[in-house]
C-alpha cells in the first residue's frame, strides 16, 4: 500500500495536476478498493463520514453471501457466510466447495457465535498488559534474533499454505523449529504411512467408491479427520433407492456415531485391535497367496466373524474395499495399511489416494515429546504457540507445565484467555476466521480462501501477519496472502489467467482445485511394517480394571470449542447429555460396579464423572470425552434463567464438565487415547446430569408393555435385500384407511410444503440442530433448564437403541414439528394462535399466543417449545448473531419449527419479483442445507416432480404415528441395513 499517502489526491483530484480522465478513473477505482480494504482492519482512529449512498451491492435488510472457509477445525470446509448489514449471521456449507460440498457440521455452524465472543483478547499483550502491536513486534524481533536456533513454533497442523511459507522463512532466517501437533492426533496413522510407504500423510479417502468398508475405531462420520467430507462421500456410496449400497462394518470399543450407522458392528477392546486386524490380514494374505511379513498376533476376538469380514473385503478388492483405522496404535495402523495394500485400496481406482493426500493432519506426537524434552533441558528460549493450549491438552505426566518455566519468552496467539495465558509472556491474538484473510489447503490440489465478512471487532492479527511483522515485513495481511498466491499457487493452478482475475474468481468461489488428482503409486515396506508391530501393544488391564477410552464428542470435540454455548447445549447424539461429559459404561459393567446413571464415579486417580450407561459399548472399557473441564467456562454459570429454584449451569470457579486430558498417556510411540488401565469406583454421590432423553428404547418398559404394542414404531428399519426384492413389503405397517368421510380441510392451490427425512442417511451428527438454532434465534437455556426438560431446540435428534447384543441398532431420528394436515394443536388453541397456512404449514403466531400450552400437550410428537422465562439476551455483542428475519420470542409464548418460513417467504418474494416460478430446491430449510448426509429433502408436495414428492411416493416412506390420522407433512424414509447374507436370510427365512 505504497500509495496510501496520496489518499487526499484520490478523493479530491486537483484539476490541472496532470490527472487525466483515465488516471482519475484508475485512482478512483483504487481508492474504492483501498477504502474497502481499510474497512477490514481496525486502523488508527479517524474521522468517519457516513456515506451518502451505501456500499455497492449491499441493500439494508437484504442478505448477501460471502464465500469463505470455516475455521471450526482443520477440515476447513467451504462456507457461505450469510451477511446482513455488514455482519455474518449464519454459516452455510458452500455447495460448490470441492471438499465439503455444501455440508457443515455442528461445530462449523456454531463457530459463528465465537466471532461475537466478548471475552476474547483485544490487541497485543506483553507481560500481562496491553501494548501496541509495534511494541510486541520490537520485543519479538529482538528475541528471535537473540535466540537463534533456540526458538520453537508449536502449532496445530497448519493448513494455510501462505502461513506455512512464512513459517518456512522463519525457520530459515532464525533457525526456528516448527512442531506441529494435533489434540485429535492422527500421528499413529501418519507414522505408519511414513514407515510403510515413505509418505507421512493421511490419504484422501474416496469413500463413495467403497463397496465394503471396514472401520476400526474410526469415527469418520462424527469426529475423525474431516467428518463432513467423509459423510458426504460415504452417503454417495449408499443410496438404497436404486443405487449401490456399501457394506459397512464397524469394530470399536465405545459406541460412536459411525458405529450407529454401520450395517454390522462389533464391540472389541482396544488391546484386541491388533489381533483382530492381524486375523483379517492373515485371511487376506491367504486369499492373495502371500505370507504376511510379520508374526500374527494371537487371540483374535470373534475369529469366525473376522474371517467372514476378510472374505467380504476380498470379494470387493481392487477398488471397492477399504479398511479404515482410527487407532492410536502404530502397530494397528501398520496392519491396516498392509490390509489396504493387499486389497488394492491404494491403487488407481482404490478408495485411498496418497497422491491427493489430505493436508489436515500433520501433527507429530514424537516431535511434541521432543519439544517438551528440549524445553525441560533448557534448550528453548522462545516458544510461540498457535492454536493450542498445551497446559490443558497435554497430560501433566508429559511435564509441559514444568518445562515451560524454563522458556524465556512464551508467546501465545490464542485470543481466548486459556491456561497458557497464565504462563505466557506475550499474547498476539489471532482474529476469528470470519474476520480475516486466510487460506487453506485441504489436499494436494485443493485450496480454499478465507476472507473477512465483517469489519474487525477487535484488534487481532493472523499468525501469518505476526510472523511477517517479526521478520520485518509490515505489509497488510491481504497483501501477504495475495503475494503467496501470486507467486506459489497461481502459477500452478492458473497459468494462462491474469492473477487478479484468478484471485477474484477464487475469492468469489471460495475454493479452487487443480484438475486431475495425481495418484501416488506406493509399495509397502515389509520390513518397516514388521518393525511397527514390534512397538508396544496396548495391554489388557489387570484384574477387574477397565481400559480407558478417551474420545472426542461430536459437539464439543476439543477444549477450544468449550466456550461456545450453542455447542455446549447440543445434546450429545449418543448419550443425549448437555453441558457435561460423563463416564460411559456398558450396562453390564455398570451393574458389576454397582452404579447407575447419574452416580458419580472416580475414574483413575482423581477424575470424578457421572455415569451414563451406553449399550453396545465394550464391557471392558470406560469411555470419557475430552474437551471438557476447560478453565474459564464458569463464565456460563448464569447462562440460564435465574429464579428461586434455578441452579447454576456450572459453579463459580468450576468448569463445564471435567478435564480428562490428564489421563492421556504418552509413550515412546506417541499419544495414547485408548487402553490406559483405570480403576472405576463409585463415590457414593450422585448428581443430576442434564439429558434430553429419559427413555432410550423404542420398546416401552417391559413390565408396562401391552401384549401387542411393546414397540413404538417411530423408527422403521428394513433390510436392503427385502427392499430390493419386494419393495412393496419393505415396511411392516398397520393398514390405515386412506379414504375419509370428512372434506379436505386444507385445500392447497399453490405449493404444499413438505419434508422427507432419510433415516438411512441421517447419522445423528447434529449439524442440523445448530443450524436450526442459528437460523431461528433459538435461545440457550443452560443446564438446569435442560435437566428440567425445557430445552428450546426446535429440532431434536431422537436416539433409540433397538435390539440387544450384536443385533443392537442405534438409530437417530431428527424430530421437529410435523406440520400435520389435521393438526391436533390447531383445534385446541382458544385464541387461534396456531393455524394452518394455505401452503400447508402449521404456523405459530407469537404475538397472538397467550401461552395456555394446550397445543403442546396435544402434540403427539412433543415438538412444541414454550418460553418458560424471558431468556438471556443481555450480551449485545452476541446478539449480533441473531437472524433479523426471525422474531426473538418473549416469555410466555409457544414456538416450534416453522419450516424456516422466513426462507420460504424470501423465495416466494424473489420468485414474484423475477416472475419465474419457484424452482424445486430454490428454498432450502436451514437443517436441510447443513446436512452433511443430505438426509433432508424439502419442497412442494403438490409438485409431483419435486424431489420431496418423489421420495414420499417411494417404498421406504412412512409417517410417524400414521394411525392418528394427523397427516404429517414430514415423511420419514425407513432406515436400511445392508445386512450380511446369513443374517438377512435368517431374519427373512
Amino acid at each position: 500500500m505504497a500509495d496510501t499517502d496520496r489518499t487526499d489526491d484520490l478523493i479530491l483530484p486537483v484539476e490541472g495536476d496532470g490527472a487525466s480522465r483515465r488516471s482519475f478513473l484508475k485512482l478512483a477505482g483504487f481508492g474504492v478498493a483501498s477504502a474497502a480494504l481499510a474497512g477490514c482492519t481496525r486502523g488508527p482512529t479517524r474521522l468517519v463520514v457516513p456515506r451518502p449512498t451505501g456500499a455497492e451491492g449491499v441493500v439494508p435488510g437484504r442478505p448477501y453471501w460471502i464465500a469463505t472457509t470455516c475455521g471450526g477445525c482443520e477440515a476447513a470446509c467451504g462456507v457461505l457466510a450469510k451477511c446482513r448489514d455488514g455482519r455474518p449471521i449464519k454459516l452455510e456449507g458452500n455447495p460448490q466447495h470441492g471438499v465439503s460440498r455444501g455440508g457443515l457440521c455442528a461445530v462449523g455452524q456454531a463457530s459463528l457465535l465465537d466471532l461475537y465472543d466478548g471475552r476474547l483478547v483485544d490487541g497485543a499483550q506483553l507481560r500481562g498488559s496491553a501494548v501496541e502491536w509495534s511494541a510486541l513486534d520490537d520485543e519479538m524481533r529482538t528475541a528471535l534474533t537473540a535466540s537463534r536456533g533456540r526458538t520453537r513454533l508449536l502449532t496445530r497442523t497448519l493448513t494455510s499454505p501462505s502461513t506455512r511459507a512464512w513459517v518456512a522463512r522463519l525457520e530459515k532466517q532464525h533457525g526456528v523449529r516448527h512442531v506441529e501437533w494435533d489434540p485429535r492426533s492422527a500421528s499413529a496413522l501418519l507414522d505408519a504411512h511414513k514407515a510403510c510407504f515413505g509418505v507421512r500423510a493421511v490419504p484422501q479417502m474416496r469413500l463413495e467408491r467403497a463397496r465394503v468398508l471396514v472401520a476400526f475405531d474410526a469415527d469418520f462420520l462424527g469426529t475423525w479427520l474431516s467428518p463432513v467430507e467423509l459423510a458426504k462421500r460415504y452417503r454417495a456410496g449408499r443410496n438404497p433407492d436404486g443405487g449401490a449400497v456399501s457394506r459397512h462394518i464397524q469394530l470399536e470399543s465405545r459406541l460412536s456415531l459411525t458405529g450407529c450407522a454401520a450395517d454390522e458392528r462389533f464391540a472389541i477392546a482396544p488391546w484386541e485391535q491388533r489381533a483382530a486386524l492381524s486375523a483379517i490380514c492373515a485371511r487376506l494374505a491367504e486369499h492373495a497367496g502371500r505370507k504376511p511379513p510379520f508374526d500374527l498376533v494371537p487371540d483374535a476376538p470373534r475369529p469366525d466373524d473376522l474371517v467372514r469380514i476378510a472374505d467380504e473385503l476380498w470379494a470387493a478388492r481392487g477398488g471397492g474395499a477399504v479398511l479404515l483405522c482410527g487407532s492410536d496404535d502404530p502397530g494397528a495402523q501398520g496392519l491396516a495399511a498392509y490390509a489396504n495394500d493387499l486389497l488394492g485400496a491404494y491403487g488407481d481406482d482404490g478408495v485411498l489416494n496418497l497422491g491427493a493426500r489430505s493436508g489436515i493432519r500433520r501433527g507429530d506426537d514424537g516431535a511434541l515429546a521432543q519439544l517438551v524434552a528440549d524445553m525441560a533441558a533448557g534448550e528453548v528460549d522462545v516458544l510461540i504457540v498457535d492454536g493450542l493450549d498445551p497446559l490443558y491438552e497435554l497430560p501433566g505426566e508429559l511435564g509441559f507445565r514444568d518445562a515451560v518455566t524454563n522458556v524465556g519468552l512464551v508467546v501465545t496467539t490464542s485470543a481466548q484467555p486459556d491456561e497458557l495465558h497464565s504462563v505466557a509472556d506475550a499474547v498476539a491474538p489471532v482474529p476469528h476466521a470470519l474476520a480475516c484473510w486466510n487460506d487453506s489447503q485441504q489436499t494436494a490440489g485443493e485450496y480454499s480462501l478465507c476472507q473477512p465478512t465483517v469489519p474487525a471487532l477487535r484488534s487481532a492479527r493472523t499468525l501469518r501477519a505476526s510472523l511477517a511483522a517479526w521478520l520485518g515485513d509490515s505489509r497488510e495481511d491481504r497483501e501477504l496472502l495475495r503475494d503467496h498466491w501470486r507467486t506459489e499457487i497461481a502459477p500452478r493452478l492458473a497459468r494462462n489467467v491474469p492473477f487478479d482475475a484468478f484471485f477474484d474468481r477464487v475469492l468469489h468461489d471460495g475454493f479452487v482445485a487443480s484438475s486431475g488428482e495425481g495418484v501416488l503409486g506406493v509399495s509397502l515396506d515389509a520390513g518397516a511394517l514388521a518393525e511397527l508391530l514390534r512397538t508396544a501393544a496396548p495391554a489388557a488391564p489387570a484384574g477387574d480394571g477397565l481400559a480407558l477410552v478417551l474420545h472426542a464428542n461430536v459437539a464439543v470435540p476439543e477444549g477450544r470449542h468449550a466456550h461456545n454455548p450453542w455447542l455446549q447445549e447440543v445434546p450429545d447424539p449418543l448419550t443425549t447429555i448437555v453441558w457435561d461429559n460423563a463416564a460411559c459404561l456398558a450396562p453390564e459393567t455398570a451393574a458389576r460396579l454397582g452404579v447407575k446413571p447419574d452416580d458419580v464415579v472416580r475414574v483413575g486417580p482423581d477424575l470424578e464423572l457421572p455415569v451414563r450407561v451406553v449399550p453396545g459399548q465394550d464391557p471392558r472399557v470406560v469411555a470419557v470425552a475430552l474437551g471438557y473441564g476447560v478453565s474459564g467456562t464458569d463464565r456460563f454459570s448464569r447462562i440460564g434463567p435465574s429464579w428461586l429454584e434455578g441452579r447454576l449451569t456450572v459453579q463459580e470457579g468450576g468448569t463445564v464438565g471435567s478435564r480428562a486430558a490428564e489421563l492421556l498417556s504418552f509413550d515412546a510411540d506417541g499419544l495414547r487415547w485408548n487402553g490406559r488401565a483405570v480403576d472405576v469406583v463409585g463415590t457414593g454421590e450422585s448428581v443430576e446430569v442434564a439429558a434430553t432423553q429419559d427413555h432410550h428404547r423404542l420398546e416401552v418398559p417391559e413390565h408396562l408393555a401391552p401384549k401387542r404394542g411393546a414397540v413404538r414404531d417411530a423408527v422403521l428399519i428394513t433390510d436392503l435385500k427385502t427392499l430390493q426384492e419386494d419393495p412393496a413389503h419393505a415396511l411392516h405397517r398397520h393398514h390405515v384407511p386412506e379414504s375419509t368421510l370428512w372434506p379436505d380441510d386444507h385445500v392447497t392451490t399453490g405449493p404444499r410444503w413438505g419434508m422427507a427425512i432419510d433415516l438411512a442417511a441421517c447419522n445423528g451428527c447434529s449439524g442440523c440442530v445448530v443450524a436450526c438454532q442459528a437460523e431461528n434465534n433459538v435461545p440457550v437455556v443452560g443446564k438446569d433448564e435442560v435437566r428440567r426438560h425445557r430445552e428450546m431446540t426446535w429440532l431434536r435428534i431422537d436416539r433409540y437403541f433397538v435390539g440387544h447384543g450384536d443385533d443392537l441398532r442405534t438409530v437417530h431420528q431428527p424430530m421437529m414439528c410435523q406440520h400435520c394436515e389435521n393438526a391436533p394443536c390447531e383445534t385446541v388453541c382458544p385464541v387461534l394462535a396456531t393455524v394452518h397456512s394455505e401452503d400447508g404449514l402449521n404456523q405459530q403466531v407469537y404475538n397472538r399466543c397467550v401461552g395456555t400450552r394446550y397445543c403442546a400437550n396435544n402434540c403427539p410428537y412433543k415438538t412444541r417449545r414454550f418460553n418458560w422465562f424471558e431468556y438471556e439476551r443481555a450480551d449485545e455483542l452476541r446478539n449480533l448473531a441473531l437472524n433479523p428475519d426471525v422474531t426473538v420470542r418473549s416469555r410466555g409464548v409457544m414456538e416450534k419449527c416453522s419450516m424456516c418460513v422466513q426462507r420460504i417467504q424470501e423465495g416466494k418474494a424473489e420468485s414474484s419479483r423475477t416472475g419465474d416460478p419457484l424452482a424445486d430446491g430454490a428454498v432450502k430449510t436451514a437443517c436441510q442445507q447443513s446436512c452433511p448426509a443430505d438426509a433432508i429433502a424439502f419442497g412442494d408436495l403438490n409438485d409431483p416432480e419435486s424431489s420431496v414428492a418423489q421420495l414420499v411416493r417411494g417404498p421406504r416412506a412412512y409417517t410417524v404415528l400414521e394411525e392418528l390420522n394427523v397427516a404429517p407433512g414430514v415423511t420419514y424414509l425407513a432406515d436400511v441395513r445392508n445386512a450380511p447374507k446369513s443374517a438377512a436370510e435368517k431374519s427373512h427365512g
Binding site: 426438560h789 383445534t827 397467550v850 414454550f866 409464548v893
Partner: protein, 469 residues
C-alpha cells in the same frame, strides 16, 4: 332420598324466634377466638399464595415444574379440582329444590357459598396458567381493534370460558336471590352503617306477599336454569381432555365420569365444611346427624360410580386393543407415578366403602376423616388424569417426569387460603343458614295446633320480628 327420615329438618324444637336468634346473632357479635384463629391461618395461606402467584407472573411459568412434555400440572389439576368442588352447591340448591328435598334448607346456603368460592378459586388457575395472563381478555369474543381477531370456537378451552362463566353467574345469582329475605332480617336487626349496607343489598325487601311470590318464582326459575349447568359445566371441563389425542385423555367416558366425580368431591367438601361450621358456629341443631347421614349416602353412591368409571377406563383400554391406550393405563397403575394412582383408588373407591356401615355414617369424626380423604383422593384423580397421561405419551424420546416446585405448592395452598378466607368471611357476615327457608319447614310451637303447618310466607323476615316481640 328418603324424605320421611327428615320429618324434623332441625333439632331442638325451635320456634321462629329462636331460629332467627341462632342464625343472626353470631353475625352481630365479635368473632370468636376460634374464628379469628381459623381466619388468620386461612388469610396467611392466601397471602402465601398471592406471593407465589405474584412471583410466578413476574418471573414466568418456568417457576412451575412443567416441561416440554408435561404442559399442565398443578395448575389445571387445581382448576378441575375446584370446579368439581363447586358442583355440590348447585346440585343441593337447584336439583334438591326441584325434587323438594326439604332437608337441603339447612345446608344449601353454605353449599352455594362454597360453590361460588370454589369457582372463584378455580377461575384463578386458567388465568395464571397462561404464559401471558395480561392478555387473558383475548379469550373472550368481543369486537376488538385487533383485526378484529376472533376466538377459536373449536377449542375446549373457549367452551370452558363460557361454561364456567355461565355457571358462576347463575350460581352467584341464585345464591344472592335466595339470600335477600335473610339479608332483610339482618337489616331489620342492625343499625348504623351496617343497616345502610344491608339495606342496599336487601333490595328493599319488605316481606310482602308479592315479594315472597316473586322471590319464589325467581328461585324456581333459577333452579331450572342451574340444573342443566350441573351437568354441563363439568362435561365441558372434561372435553379439555376428551377431545385431545393424548391416550388417557381421549375418552368418551369423560363427561359423565367428570360430573359424577364432581358431585362426589363437592359433597365431600360440603361435609368437611359443615362439620367444621356446625361446631364453630354452634349450628348442631340445624346441621344434624341426619343431614350428615344423607350426604354420606350420596358419597357412598357417587364414590361407587367413580370406581366404576375407573374400571371402565381400564376395560376400554383393554378392549380397544390400542397399544398406546393400553400402555397409558399400565403405566398409570404400575409406572413411575403409580403412587398417585393408588392414592386415588384408595381414597376414592376403597375408603368410601366404609360408608355402607351406619356406625361409620353416624360417627362424625369418622365422616370428617373420610371427607378429607375423599378430598385428597379427588385432587389426585385430576392429577393422575392430567400428569400420568402426559408424561409418557406417544414417542418414548419425549417421555419425562413432573415434579412440582415450591411455587406450585404455595399456589395450591394459596387457593385453599382463598377458599377458607372467603368462607370464614361468609360465616361472619352473611347468614350461613337459610333462616327464611328453615322457617318454612319447621313448626312454630306457639302457633295453634289446628293452624296449618307453617306455610310458605309465614315466618318471613320482618313479620317474624314483630311477632316475636
Amino acid at each position: 332420598m328418603d324424605s320421611h327420615a327428615f320429618e324434623r329438618v332441625i333439632d331442638g324444637d325451635k320456634n321462629l324466634t329462636q331460629v332467627t336468634e341462632d342464625v343472626f346473632s353470631p353475625l352481630e357479635k365479635r368473632g370468636t377466638g376460634r374464628w379469628w384463629t381459623a381466619f388468620l391461618v386461612a388469610a396467611s395461606a392466601l397471602f402465601l399464595g398471592l406471593v407465589a402467584i405474584g412471583y410466578q407472573v413476574y418471573t414466568g411459568i418456568g417457576t412451575w415444574g412443567l416441561n416440554r412434555t408435561v404442559g399442565w400440572g398443578f395448575d389445571i389439576t387445581n382448576f378441575v379440582f375446584w370446579v368439581g368442588i363447586g358442583h355440590a352447591g348447585t346440585l343441593i340448591s337447584a336439583v334438591l329444590l326441584l325434587f323438594r328435598q326439604k332437608w337441603r334448607t339447612s345446608i344449601n346456603r353454605a353449599a352455594e357459598a362454597m360453590t361460588i368460592f370454589a369457582v372463584m378459586c378455580a377461575g384463578i388457575f386458567p388465568l395464571i396458567h397462561m404464559g401471558r395472563p395480561w392478555l387473558a381478555h383475548w379469550v373472550f369474543p368481543y369486537p376488538n381493534p385487533r383485526g378484529p381477531l376472533w376466538v377459536n370456537w373449536r377449542s375446549p378451552l373457549l367452551w370452558d370460558v363460557f361454561a364456567i362463566g355461565t355457571y358462576f353467574t347463575i350460581s352467584a345469582l341464585f345464591w344472592y336471590v335466595g339470600l335477600v329475605p335473610d339479608l332483610a332480617t339482618a337489616r331489620d336487626r342492625a343499625r348504623g352503617i351496617r343497616k345502610r349496607i344491608l339495606s342496599l343489598f336487601s333490595l328493599g325487601w319488605n316481606g310482602s306477599a308479592r315479594s315472597w311470590s316473586r322471590h319464589e318464582i325467581a328461585c324456581v326459575l333459577l333452579a331450572g336454569l342451574a340444573t342443566p349447568l350441573v351437568v354441563s359445566v363439568h362435561s365441558v371441563v372434561s372435553t379439555d381432555f376428551a377431545t385431545a389425542v393424548i391416550p388417557g385423555w381421549h375418552a368418551t367416558l369423560f363427561p359423565p365420569y367428570f360430573v359424577i366425580g364432581a358431585v362426589f368431591s363437592g359433597f365431600a367438601m360440603v361435609l368437611t365444611l359443615m362439620l367444621i361450621a356446625r361446631k364453630v358456629m354452634h349450628f348442631e341443631d340445624y346441621i344434624t346427624p341426619r343431614h350428615i347421614g344423607a350426604m354420606c349416602k350420596i358419597l357412598c353412591f357417587t364414590g361407587t360410580i367413580v370406581g366404576l368409571a375407573y374400571m371402565t377406563e381400564f376395560f376400554t383400554a383393554w378392549y380397544s386393543a390400542a397399544p398406546y391406550e393400553q400402555f397409558v393405563f399400565m403405566n398409570r397403575a404400575a409406572g413411575p407415578m403409580a403412587w398417585a394412582f393408588w392414592i386415588m383408588v384408595s381414597c376414592n373407591v376403597i375408603a368410601p366403602q366404609l360408608l355402607w356401615f351406619r356406625k361409620v355414617r353416624t360417627s362424625l369424626a369418622a365422616v370428617f376423616v373420610l371427607a378429607l380423604v375423599i378430598n385428597v383422593g379427588m385432587w389426585f384423580e385430576r392429577f393422575v388424569i392430567i400428569v400420568t397421561s402426559l408424561h409418557r405419551d406417544f414417542l418414548p424420546s419425549a417421555w419425562s417426569a413432573y415434579i412440582p416446585t415450591s411455587i406450585e405448592i404455595a399456589t395450591l395452598i394459596g387457593s385453599f387460603g382463598l377458599f377458607f378466607t372467603l368462607f370464614l368471611l361468609f360465616c361472619r357476615f352473611v347468614p350461613m343458614i337459610a333462616a327464611a327457608e328453615i322457617k318454612t319447614v319447621i313448626r312454630d310451637r306457639r302457633a295453634s295446633d289446628d293452624a296449618p303447618p307453617a306455610a310458605l310466607p309465614v315466618g318471613a323476615a320482618g313479620v317474624d320480628e314483630r311477632r316475636a316481640a
